[in-house]
């Protein structure tokens, strides 16, 4: 039998805490890593100062003409002067409020359901908003009764980029779900056509589909019917995206254990109830990161519409280079467009992390 006195606690050695520990573990853990760290620092030293100089310190922000502007660094005056073109394309300036209202309505419409949290008709309300928004948005943007018509060839810039991406994302989602379910269907005909569709679309680059939509599709319509160029692009992009979404969701569906199907069956749920209440919510949740990844690549792919003559934000850069007052400012344009796209895509990625967390109910007990 032995007893021991409780000893006083000691602080850990200095090499185990704070900055020193971090430096040691992350940057100088071995000779090789130390060399890499120093090399990386040297590269940063080479790149950062001139870049910062070009972007900011040497750059021109004032109200100047192209000739007065420096050639050594960025001339952000150009972006300032052309900002409307980048954002609204050729949309008439007096009608910009219609674009603003369209986007503001997204915020309003997504906020309304929060006011009716415990209302039994909440689902119907959401469905109504979801269906009425596209109609309202189209009316606002295009015009018609009481509003001056703005033809789609005047749409452009960031507005067009967002419209194409949003329509592609929203319209492709339900089609993708149906295709994914179709591919799992017990009915052979449905399965065959789903597989055919998915594999055909996935075997072809988007650019081909856009060309098809732009050049081949009109051949199917009888003469005299002129389907809008933007609409054709939207159809092409939606059909393209749907095939990818279908494959992503199929991955989620395959991850659902058989027991979930059996439990739902054993309760007497119908096929529709089983699919919409049990299987899809779980499959979609698993697929969130891949779905968002797919949407992000779609957003980037929308820049391809320039080859069929639509002026999205990227196409605007090329366009503005033919402006004699601002020759030679493409670099600023491309850097600006890249920055705007990065902001949007990075937000999407962050938002997806957020949803993943919110819907994660399968955490281990230990983590909660």
């Amino acid at each position: 039998m032995a007893t021991y006195e409780l000893k006083n606690k000691k602080n850990p050695p200095i090499s185990e805490i704070g900055v020193i520990k971090w430096l040691h573990e992350n940057l100088f853990s071995s000779l090789f890593n130390s060399i890499l760290t120093l090399f990386a620092l040297y590269l940063l030293y080479l790149i950062i100062p001139p870049l910062a100089d070009w972007l900011y310190f040497g750059a021109e922000f004032g109200n100047v003409t192209n000739d007065q502007c420096t050639r050594e660094a960025a001339c952000w005056t150009y972006i300032g002067k052309k900002i409307n073109l980048y954002i609204y394309g050729f949309y008439p300036e007096e009608h910009y409020w219609r674009i603003h209202l369209t986007f503001a309505l997204v915020a309003v419409f997504s906020f309304i359901p929060r006011l009716f949290k415990n209302n039994p008709h909440r689902f119907k309300l959401i469905a109504f908003l979801f269906i009425s928004y596209p109609i309202l948005a189209f009316y606002l943007l295009y015009g018609g009764i009481g509003l001056e018509v703005v033809e789609t060839h005047k749409w452009g810039g960031l507005t067009l980029t967002i419209i194409i991406a949003a329509v592609g994302i929203v319209a492709s989602f339900p089609i993708g779900i149906l295709m994914a379910l179709g591919r799992q269907s017990k009915m052979k005909v449905i399965r065959f056509f789903s597989v055919l569709y998915i594999e055909f679309i996935r075997g072809v680059p988007l650019i081909t589909i856009l060309f098809m939509a732009s050049v081949v599709l009109p051949l199917f319509f009888s003469e005299g019917i002129d389907v809008d160029k933007l609409l054709r692009a939207l159809i092409g992009i939606t059909l393209f995206q749907a095939a990818y979404i279908a494959e992503v969701i199929r991955g989620g569906l395959q991850a659902i254990p058989r027991g979930q199907y059996e439990a739902a069956d054993a309760m007497g749920l119908s096929f529709f109830q089983k699919t919409s209440l049990i299987i899809l919510p779980q499959a979609l949740k698993i697929s969130i990161p891949n779905i968002v990844g797919s949407f992000i690549s779609l957003f980037k792919d929308t820049t391809l519409v320039l080859i069929i003559g639509l002026f999205d934000m990227l196409a605007i850069v090329g366009l503005s280079t033919s402006d004699v007052n601002w020759l030679g400012r493409e670099t600023e344009g491309y850097v600006f467009v890249a920055f705007v796209l990065w902001i949007i895509l990075y937000s999407m990625s962050k938002y997806s992390k957020n949803i993943e967390k919110r819907y994660n109910t399968e955490l281990d007990k230990e983590k909660l």
């Binding site: 027991g259 054993a266 309760m267 007497g268 749920l269 919510p281 109910t361 281990d364 007990k365």
Partner: protein, 249 residues
Amino acid sequence: MSSNDKQIIQINNLNKWYGDFHALNNINLTVNEGEIVVICGPSGSGKSTLIRCINYLEKFQEGEIIVDGTSIADDVKKIRQVRSEVSMVFQHFNLFPHLTILDNLTLAPIWVHQNKKEDATERALALLDRVGIKDQAEKYPNQLSGGQQQRVAIARSLCTSPKIMLFDEPTSALDPEMISEVLDVMVELAKEGMTMVCVTHEMGFAKKVADSMIFMDEGQIIETNKPDEFFKNPESDRLKLFLNQILDK
């Protein structure tokens, strides 16, 4: 022990094949209302397959199963009618991980039986109270222990007031210290007169509550008897061997 002799399940000349494999070989079985039937047998003997045929989770090729007067055929409406009267408790619980415990319980009452949400919730809470986990109603399944999850699963299958309950090895996936909490709930159910068909290796449970025992091997019913005779005087050699193996443990 059964109060009346109304036959609630009738299985006539049931045959099932998986490809070439004869999984169920000419099964005949009747279960009376309020009867507790325990099916045991070595793994691969077809016992799970048999009870999964009763609510048509497995298709069969020959014979018929009549549940409460309804003959199951390949008719979606009849299948759903039978399934709404028969509930099943699975080896791996099969709770829905994306729904809270309460939502797991109210799902079938609301969507299959068209109960009002308030009524379904009230009943669900009463059942959770009965299985001793009312305070976990707002949690998600994976936050509960295995024993708790299985008790939730039993409460879930009681929510629709079924006439028959099927138990497919309900304690096989549980840690040993959690088995009794689940068996206690099952014993209580048995005492209340629920018709139960249980596939289980818990012979203590079987001795305590079963009205009849069924021993299966190679897709066939080898022996049926009252529990005391079944355990004391097994007739077939296979059952003797099986009982030796399982009771020696």
